[in-house]
Point group: D2
Chain length 406, copies 4
């Protein structure tokens, strides 16, 4: 009886992949129940990687209790409740559908897949699995940055009135150096697309989620500034410095930058830019929304701040309010530190675990669902279609994702 | 002899129009020689407006020595050297070509005209007049904001390397209120277009001028949020509050917002947005340029600042430099106040007079020429073409404006 | 009759001194009636300087109709209504008292004098002259920066509640270079004091004026970082670069920096810093006031902005409001440009002329009166007394200036 | 053998106290070895609190393996290597000296003690214990905020030249509401002092540590705005809202705000302010340092940014560099996320554990030592002495702390 109780209270996690994302996810699994009252206590049961030595080292460093080298083995284990997928996009579909079929809950990193077809298969699989109690969620983690969660709350409360403008930029600069090395993120096979899917996908998900409106059409321009790059080279962080001018080079097969405009289901229009060539911008994930009554503005380079303009303030005292999102009234924040003591990047992952675990315990569909994430994939695909057809407007079908952006 | 000398030293100005732009121009004509050594001293000789009482009042208030009620009379006067056109765009072509034909120098407010055809006629007229010594210039005044002049200098000096990204926003909010009244700026007949020509034109000129690259193609989306507005109403500033919900309404016939992407002659890509519905943004004329070696970023809401990123700074001490553009080394600024004592909006107009007078005295073509301004008009037109054809890419002809963006 | 009317409508100005301050004042006298409805139209009647050639050049450049080389002659002229004193502080008392005795209105640059004794003589002279209709005002121009005028309005409206903290910094850096030359501003005989009187005086006046509270006691530390500097040298702006290390040097006889704490008559406490060695700070005249209900914060390096915090905003949407002080509802601003089009440094001087001319026409005492300015001088003196006596607290007598800070 | 090896590699921690600071410390002990290669792996062996139920709950939530209710029992345990003291200041001396006497390493929260006498006893105890291999460190955690560690590095590298100005503010607002309840932080018996010791102590430690100069003298003003407050009341975060006006009230026996100026051993002068009444400032721990060659400026409300001014930048491109301190070259940061992905408040605690564990493993004295922290206590005491004697200058004895600020 005691044992049963304990079993009910645990949520046993198996994670595939252990790079940058794996470190962030591991931290979240370790930390969430330390600051939040969770209905289930996560356990870092097993980590999975093809290289046993590397995986073992990662397990020890990140706190996982055991190691698997084949994700099929991981899924086959009885003592795993959730599969957490932190691998490149080209592997998501196979792992996720197998895991769901095996009755596991699934947390899958974004973008959901590298193609619409894969994404829709995953959405179908998730829909079927949900009927059997296995829940799936896609890791658009920025939704759990408190300032962005607050932005959505403001929209939901009607503070912004009718939404007119969405202005989304995701600016990084780690490819600015022409000699930065060729990595998997520059290979269409593995990454699906370049800046568009890597970072633009975040902007798309956020824009739709915060506004509660779906993108209905897009016109796009994509561009590749540097066609080939040194193979290998010394890799530091995301970018790093390639060896030399005479190193062997390989082709860049993805977009370096993507620009697009969009129309939204509720009448707003949007403008998007994603690039890894905006020299000086390190992680400028920016979102501004202008409505008929108010505006919000966010930049991840000041991630604890939401700027908010309320047109009903009196005329001589009106201006954007610089809200430091660290008050007890703000989402997630009350469980951390006193006011003014900001959070960091990884807190979004911890909050993601909080929400996922809460939903799993309640048997409730987490958001973003795979269907929502598949709809993002459709937008990415429409952007690419437009870019390859003289920027011509591409309408999006909206049947499937009815209500999906909520 | 004495008299002749005095005559040579004066530059006698006749100005048409005396609203917001007229006040700014008058101030510039009165002020430029007080802070700069000019080869010719401007004289505010005559102002022209159809309503004699209003024009007389304006003349007295703004310091003009005489009044005309017919611009043809103004042009016919012997004691006028320069015609300064501050009227709505639909009148520019007629006045400017007549003035040039009469041998006057011309300063014409932007946008140069309401159509490409008119603009090109004006460019032709200016080209012909230049051979006879009459010089023409279009008033893209923001070029003379010291921080933006400095941005161009940085590009010219090679500090930015090869330009990759142009990011231009012109955000205002004075139409956010649905009951703001219908003014001439919302009437296609008089204004040519809406946010696009009114403010987007500035972004286009600046982007081309600062980068030294011409726009070669565009894809666009335009949108009108509020289709009709109260006629008349109480007009305050640019916007104001309309009378009531039951007031008589008239149609808005221009765009409220314009979004477009662009390719540039030197390989850069650009993204542009112009709107008067960005609640909370008062005059956010923003320009960011990312190159292979550096970046610059500007926002008119902090008009005395240029942010500059130099990728060659050492890695632990690198970051955008917040340059307060008030040093003696900066363009125009040394003639004003000590370092740190900022300038305001109207200084751009004063600097424009400085440059124009200097060029006239030297018999040198001022910039932006009518040809350059006509090329901006072509871009505006291409934007409208794309917007009305499913955002399809529109290439720009580039023959005429060869070198025009310089 | 016509002539009489014209004479009544003019206000004829004679200005002494024509350096940096003279240029700013001249601009204001030329410009105020162009943008504001003034009851009297200023005329730039005469300028006065000892060197006839330099004064003549200045008169022409700045727009003055005639030249005097002896200020006594200027004061003796019948066709002068106002004497505007823009000379160093050691000359103020003699000129001002003579001008007031001659029945002229007087505008005197700050600091009012170099000693309390002189300042009080001037205040006595002004009090006596006021009875005879000659009005005197001291040029604490920053009061007329719209954002600071707005700050005072907020205090007066009760928006801040009971004032607790005043935080005033005036940071410049033009003396950071040890080889910057010795100028009159570093000579106690001419300048009275260093950073304290030059820039700290502005902070003192503003702090008292905005809060409506007088300083009642101070404790201070002053310091001189560089004891001697090159004589002569090439002077650029305020600072400039001295010749070389082996140039002849002379002693610096003033403070380089002044720090002090203060208590205010209404219960607030304040902390002040004035320095010209804050490398990177160009004209950071900062003022923050915290009350029981709200706060305001200002930095002249963003002179068109007032930050305002209202504790009554709802808890999830609270934050400093970045008010861009360019709305029609804001002080002075409605007479200039549309919203978002900022003002510059010299606008404070223009607004000062507006207020002075309005008060003169109404026969009303302008503020700051000489009595108010003399009280600032007393604070400066108390700061110096404290600094020279181990920072011991110095109480200020408050009889004379009863109500002076209003 | 295997077991012995494991034992050698662990560092077993016993923590006293489990409130806000306890949560932060626990997170750090759990997390440090997940992101950093540590020579010893921390183990959360035991937590100690008087209330067994609360302590047990805290142990479970924060991850401690066992519970003690008497700190003497904790110290007596064989399986504890480090005692981590997170209790109010009045208990530090007794616990720390006993722990050191028992051969434990000690990490003690700041301020080290509530009096100089206690602090010096602790420093003596630490000095003696160090000879026996037990090391002590005081938790001035902000030193481990990467941007502030970088500031120190810049000073050490000579980038700032000779230091002239230190400008330190620590501004919070959680006592602004007069009805916020009386807590132990407002009781001199428990807290020692108010804003001065609670937050001003951080500024003092940082100013000395970053500059490498000791404070040699101070002049101060302290003030209490609200003399009595509701007892009990509903406590939210640090502040909270008291019950009602007619609640029972108790006396506030500490300072609400402290202002002081200081002279430093290397010739700099400093100005300090600590308050919990700066409405709108949530955790504005600010530090600006101006040297002869450069400046740095920091505000904890943007904790991932260091602003840096290098006077050697070329004149037209000079300005404060906004360094986003998230590059691999920056202190601590390379072990976390990619560039631009910021850290939060608790990372300072994690870095503190990294440094402490590294020093313990190396048998090296960690910094800040108890002697350094005792010197901070002397400064706090000098501030109070000055404030209670008409702000008179108080010199500090410097013998003991020779080199202590390094």
């Amino acid at each position: 009886m005691m044992g049963e109780q304990v079993i009910k209270q645990r949520l046993r996690v198996g994670m595939v992949g252990y790079a940058f994302m794996g470190a962030a996810h591991s931290h979240a699994w370790r930390t969430a129940h330390r600051f939040f009252d969770l209905p289930l206590t996560p356990e870092l049961t097993a980590i999975c990687g093809r290289n046993v030595e590397a995986a073992t080292e990662a397990a020890e460093r990140m706190g996982w209790a055991s190691v698997e080298t084949d994700w099929r083995e991981l899924i086959a284990r009885d003592d795993i409740d959730v599969i957490d997928i932190c691998t490149p996009g080209n592997t998501h579909e196979e792992i996720a559908t197998a895991a769901l079929a095996a009755g596991k809950h699934v947390l899958c990193e974004k973008p959901l897949a590298n193609s619409v077809a894969e994404a829709e298969q995953m959405a179908d699989a998730a829909e079927a699995a949900a009927l059997r109690g296995a829940l799936a969620m896609c890791g658009f983690t920025y939704r759990r940055t408190p300032a962005l969660t607050l932005a959505k709350r403001f929209v939901d409360e009607g503070r912004l009135g009718s939404i007119r403008h969405v202005r989304a930029q995701y600016l990084q600069d780690w490819l600015s150096d022409e000699n930065a090395p060729l990595t998997w993120r520059l290979d269409r096979e593995k990454a699906g697309s370049g800046a568009l899917g890597d970072i633009g996908a975040h902007s798309i998900d956020l824009a739709q989620w915060v506004t509660g409106q779906r993108i209905e059409g897009v016109s796009a321009l994509t561009h590749t500034f540097v066609d080939e790059r040194p193979v290998g080279g010394d890799f530091v962080g995301l970018g790093g410095h390639g060896d030399a001018a005479n190193a062997e080079k390989g082709p860049v097969t993805v977009d370096d930058a993507a620009l697009f405009s969009a129309s939204f289901s509720g009448g707003a229009i949007g403008i998007f830019e994603a690039t890894r060539y905006a020299l000086g911008r390190k992680n400028a994930m920016r979102l501004e929304i202008n409505g008929s009554l108010g505006s919000v503005s966010f930049d991840f380079e000041e991630s604890n701040v939401l700027n908010y303009y309320d047109s009903r303030d009196d005329a001589e005292a009106i201006g954007f309010r610089r809200i430091i999102v660290t008050e007890p009234e703000h989402p997630y924040v009350g469980n951390w530190w006193p006011t003014g003591h900001g959070l960091g990047y990884e807190h979004g992952f911890t909050h993601q675990v909080v929400d996922l675990v809460t939903d799993i315990a309640a048997g409730r569909q987490p958001s973003p669902s795979f269907a929502e994430a598949a709809q993002v994939q459709q937008v990415l695909h429409a952007v690419e279609r437009s870019a390859s057809s003289d920027s011509q407007w591409q309408a999006l079908e909206t049947d499937r994702t009815e209500g999906g952006a909520q």
